[in-house]
């Protein structure tokens, strides 16, 4: 499988990365180089093998459905929005999305 220029632009859009038109041919070659290299996985027989989802065989732990203390807990809007490029009264500010 190899990518053409329009697919590169589509993938960049899906990844929400702006790329200039003049970058596209170069990126296409690089991505195709990498995809061509990983193509060799097609030759491995994976019949009957399940996908690995975790490197450690343990069940995911459950926790009580209560608000935690400390940094993962709630009630800290100031800390949450402190690093935002734009915030107002503990809200993140983004360009208008609803007309």
């Amino acid at each position: 499988m190899s990518l053409d220029e329009s697919t590169v632009k589509k993938v960049a859009n899906l990844a929400r990365i702006a790329i200039a038109d003049e970058e596209v041919p170069h990126l296409m070659n690089e991505l195709n180089g990498i995809l061509g290299w990983i193509e060799q996985l097609q030759e491995v027989d994976i019949e009957g093998v399940e996908a690995m989802t975790s490197s450690v065989e343990v069940a995911l732990p459950m926790r009580d459905d209560v608000l935690a203390d400390g940094p993962t807990g709630g009630g800290q809007p100031q800390a949450v929005t402190k690093n935002a490029p734009k915030s107002d009264d503990h809200f993140f500010v983004v360009p208008k999305v609803v007309e």
Partner: protein
């Protein structure tokens, strides 16, 4: 006063407790040296004021006989670990100015044990790279140079700042992370010891995420004992990381003295790559012989799926990264490039904020997860990964440890491999399998090549086999007796 920066963590710890020197004297020497070594670009940010407060507190505790395990030990922290109030930007422009309101679990564990943080260390952007050249701050420089040359060499990556800082004695030890080899390869290129623990041994909470099923924190240190001491503090269960393993942390330092008598050590024959340098091949054979002389039994093992490990990695890691890095959108933290349209704002922010390698990987990841390709790429890779992990587990039914080289070459010049992404990716050929299988690995200095550059040897252990691995590494370290130091051209 003697040069305290030549001492190991164990020696500093014992010396401070015996009142031979104070935490303030130790910190002052390390900090002066680090400040005079800016040419190495290892530290990207110092933490002076806070650190001095910690140092004073450490000396008070030592005076009262209340020293904690790492009391007063000056450490460098890879800038992928969130440090409360201290900028953490993962060497990415997109995170410039981010001051975490919390401390990562691993760095908190170190602080709780008395370690002093000198500052943050350079790395490849979001830990994606093998040479430090993808860092937004420019690469850290290897203190080692080829004999008679002034070419600037890479300290490896992604934990290149950690490795360079420890090799140049700018800090007593450092934190690092390893997703495909990012602890062990830089350790090999700088003659330091780098230990990647079992997946789940150290909490990932508060570490800027790259590929969550592979990322694991560990130490880079001057010797095997120091790496064990640091792991003692870094490891442990953390309910805040759902993949953290609830299992007691043994005293890894105690494991050192055991020796390798009666151990079975495997040599995976597929690791003998076509075109492998004679020097690396000889070093590998010689080190197996040294282990044999100490009473280990050397066994050839076969891991035929080895060659698929890197292609699997370059599907799984970018796929997970494309999901993890979706959070950098110019809204919650870091920098934003404005536009009236929110989608354009996202795209411009990410287009300008991420570097070339990160963008490349995010696009690969997005592609292999996109509709119609998920089964052919991602699912297939995860199934091959399972086979690789099963093959590794089967090998550990025959042997206690595997012995391999750590990297396919010694340190290379900056710019020498950056034109071809795949050539750069091949740096991790010996290390990446341990990440896919979730097992621990350690790199120790093996010797110098003909140009005077360090080469590393790797031991790999089964899951939670850190003690056996440390025992093997300490025995090999002693048998090799490596004690070379880089010439100090940078000060």
């Amino acid at each position: 006063m003697a040069d305290l920066t030549t001492k190991t963590i164990a020696q500093l710890r014992d010396g401070m407790r015996a009142k031979e020197f104070s935490a303030a004297e130790v910190f002052d020497q390390y900090f002066t040296r680090a400040e005079n070594s800016r040419a190495l670009n290892a530290f990207v940010r110092f933490n002076v004021e806070l650190a001095w407060d910690q140092v004073k507190a450490s000396d008070e505790r030592i005076a009262k006989g209340e020293a904690r395990p790492l009391e007063g030990i000056p450490m460098g922290i890879k800038d992928l670990f969130c440090t409360e109030g201290l900028e953490t930007n993962a060497a990415s422009r997109i995170l410039y100015g981010f001051r975490p309101p919390y401390e990562s679990t691993v760095s908190q564990n170190l602080l709780d044990d008395g370690a002093v943080f000198m500052g943050k260390l350079n790395l490849d952007e979001f830990a994606m790279g093998s040479s430090n050249e993808t860092s937004a701050h420019g690469p850290a420089i290897n203190p080692w140079r080829r004999e008679g040359e002034e070419t600037k060499l890479t300290p490896g990556g992604s934990s290149g700042g950690s490795a360079a800082a420890v090799a140049a004695r700018l800090c007593a030890g450092a934190t690092a992370t390893d997703t495909g080899g990012s602890i062990r390869q830089p350790a090999a290129l700088t003659a330091t010891v780098g230990l990647k623990p079992t997946y789940g041994r150290c909490s990932r909470w508060g570490i800027v995420a790259f590929a969550s099923s592979l990322d694991q924190a560990g130490p880079i240190a001057k010797d095997v004992r120091d790496s064990a001491i640091l792991l003692n503090s870094m490891a442990g269960y953390d309910p805040k990381d759902s993949t953290s393993i609830d299992r007691p942390v043994p005293d890894y330092e105690q494991a050192i003295a055991g020796g390798v008598k009666g151990m079975k050590i495997g040599i995976p024959k597929e690791y003998r790559l076509d075109g492998m340098s004679q020097e690396i091949s000889d070093l590998w054979t010689k080190s197996a012989k040294l282990l044999e002389e100490q009473g280990a039994e050397i066994v050839e093992v076969s891991l035929p799926l080895t060659k698929y490990a890197l292609p699997v990695y370059y599907i799984v890691a970018p796929a997970e990264a494309s999901s993890n890095l979706a959070r950098y959108d110019g809204v919650k933290y870091g920098v934003r490039v404005e536009d009236d349209n929110i989608h354009e704002m996202y795209k411009k922010t990410r287009g300008e904020g991420f570097g070339a390698e990160v963008k490349r990987r995010l696009m690969i990841g997005t592609y292999v997860l996109s509709a119609g390709y998920y089964d052919a790429y991602y699912l297939r890779a995860q199934r091959v990964r399972k086979k690789i992990a099963m093959e590794m587990a089967a090998a550990f039914e025959q042997v206690d440890l595997l012995l391999t080289p750590s990297s396919p070459s010694a340190a290379f010049g900056l710019g020498e491999k950056s034109a071809d992404p795949i050539e750069m990716y091949l740096n991790d050929v010996f290390t990446v399998t341990a990440n896919l299988a979730g097992v621990p690995g350690i790199s120790i200095p093996g010797g110098l090549d003909a140009q005077g550059l360090p080469l590393g040897l790797q031991l790999i252990a089964p899951a939670f086999g850190e003690e056996t691995m440390i025992r093997g590494a300490a025995a090999l370290e002693e048998a090799i007796g490596f004690n070379a130091q880089p010439t100090e051209w940078w000060r």
